[in-house]
Symmetry: C2
Subunit: 359 residues, 2 copies
């Protein structure tokens, strides 16, 4: 069965301000030191498994040019545009009907566009296992990440018995999806050995997920079925616009995964990192002998454990520690690493003051 990748690239991440902006969200940034953007990494790491012609990017029209620029080998018709952000269910549904129209049925690898993976071979092996499971019956597969610490910023997957597969694939029945826990609960989850992080990576047949849409989210199904009928016609854009404007926003987790049957999870151990804030840069990049992650024209004197991204001008630091310093053409961030999550307060402040040029 044909294997296609659906990469969700409509996000507007604000946590990498001032480099991420409304017109330049995280997935298009180069946050590693290899000059490769997050979305380029995402596509590249699939190359042994999925042909570029079978990669679909779901995004919105503001980012179409960025996708074309960064993924020059991608067929333009594989860029699917959401007229409006309606959360993950309509996004995935849109991709599913395109895939049904084109291939009748196919295995869909549904993947975020802005995560990093360190051990690519293990990642591909895990996806291959997931594909095996997803091919059977009406199975929905989600890749869980084996937690390494009690993170409170992710949702968790509570899994049960191992699926009898007749082979060595380690798939587990999903009991339930749970919301971001508090620290105490997260510690309990870890201690139990029965929880994985919800990474937002899914594998299923397009037919399976569409059956689930039809049953569990019939309004959305009706909308995306109308869109499917318009594919290849002159009315496509208009129909998509109308149907999306009518849809209510819904996440795939809440709308389907928490309510469907035959859900399995495969534990992923492939060095996954959601690169959730500037602090991630010292996990995904090399640090120098002083613990600094430095990019560009930088002089550090008695400075350590800092993340420093220069733009065109020289940055000189003296005696600083644990700072995030990010220079861009029109804005400069200096943030204590402990306060990386408060960068959103800058965005709020800028919005309140209507300083849209910096957003």
């Amino acid at each position: 069965m044909k294997i296609v990748a659906v990469i969700m690239a409509g996000g507007k991440g604000e946590r990498f301000w001032p480099r991420s902006r409304q017109n330049m969200p995280k997935q298009f940034l180069c946050l590693t030191d290899d000059g490769t953007s997050m979305i380029q990494h995402t596509v590249k790491r699939l190359e042994s498994l999925v042909n570029i012609d079978d990669v679909f990017i779901v995004t919105n029209k503001d980012y179409k040019e960025l996708v074309k620029e960064q993924l020059q080998e991608l067929p333009e018709e594989n860029i699917l545009l959401e007229p409006k952000a309606k959360n993950t269910a309509p996004c995935i549904g849109l991709a599913a009907v395109h895939i049904r129209k084109k291939y009748n049925d196919a295995i869909m690898l549904v993947l975020p566009s802005d995560h990093l993976i360190k051990y690519n071979e293990m990642y591909i092996d895990t996806l291959k296992d997931a594909i095996q499971v997803a091919k059977e019956d009406q199975n929905l597969v989600t890749i869980g990440i084996t937690p390494t610490y009690p993170e409170t910023g992710y949702g968790y997957i509570n899994f049960g018995a191992r699926k009898e597969t007749g082979n060595n694939i380690r798939a587990y029945n999903v009991n339930k999806f749970v919301e971001k826990p508090n620290l105490e609960l997260a510690k309990e989850y870890l201690a139990s050995g029965k929880y994985l992080w919800n990474s937002g990576m899914f594998v299923w047949k397009s037919s399976t997920i569409l059956n689930n849409f039809e049953e569990l989210l019939p309004d959305i199904y009706k909308g995306i079925a109308n869109i499917e009928n318009a594919i290849g016609t002159e009315q496509y854009e208009q129909v998509t616009e109308i149907e999306f404007s009518k849809l209510k926003g819904e996440s795939i987790d809440y709308g389907i995964m928490e309510r469907a049957n035959s859900i399995y999870t495969l534990p992923g151990n492939f060095g996954w990192d959601d690169v959730g804030s500037w602090n991630a840069l010292e996990r995904v990049n090399k640090t120098n002998e002083n613990g600094n992650v430095v990019q560009g024209n930088v002089i550090t004197i008695q400075s350590k454990n800092s993340i420093i991204q220069a733009d065109s001008k020289l940055i000189a630091t003296v005696g600083v520690e644990n700072l995030i310093i990010v220079d861009t053409e029109d804005a400069l961030l200096i943030c204590d690493k402990e306060n990386a999550q408060d960068i959103k307060k800058i965005i709020e402040n800028l919005k309140i003051c209507n300083r849209i040029e910096y957003l």
Copy 2:
């Protein structure tokens, strides 16, 4: 007797990098929030005592245009150019012969160009007292600053008995000038009540200082006397160049003040600040409710006790404390306040790497 001011403005201060540069030393920077440069402050605070036509600026040719630009009412012929920096003695000697040539004799107020004074009225009153003392006999007067803490970065003046003046002027005999002490010694000086900071401000008649040059620094005297003879001739520039190239560098403190007779000091209590590093900005400028001294386009989130100077771009800080942040067109400094004296290490680094564009 005519009163003239001699303002020494040839310094190349590196402690305000990246705003101070070889072509923009400290005396020409605006470090207060009133848009007035250090040298402009220096001239302006004398206006009730000295006519602008009687103000002389001693500098070098690299800074001539800056002086003209910043002191537009100053007669151009009052800008005296040292062909080469030879420390303070030749600088003052050059001014003294110009003054002798023009006025025969006059009271010279010799002043640094890059200090700030908070209580101007008290400053002028102190200068007036100093003038009274300097008018008599062959007196050399230096303004000392009453120390407020055991600073190790200044020289000190050890004073003795009060001069009998027949009026209320508090002038004291100078026993000796002492070099920058270590902390222990500085504490002893303070405890003794017999030491003042050496501020580098002097008052004397041009005839008095020239007599001292003749007696104590005869080589320099010979040089400046040759220059004096060339004033007003076409050979002036050439003669000055030749004589300066022959002079050995000498400070007025070491060359004259430490060896002359009839030296008096007047304690100054007028809110003197030598603005010796970026840290001084919180002494000489207003701090906001978070203890920050902020200039320009700046957003601070949970940030305190920092000195932040924006240039053209937005600076946003989150969770930072005790930092000096200075942005300029081509270089950005981020320095812990504790390490302000290590800014010179950046300069050293830039010199070693021959990155002269940043010097």
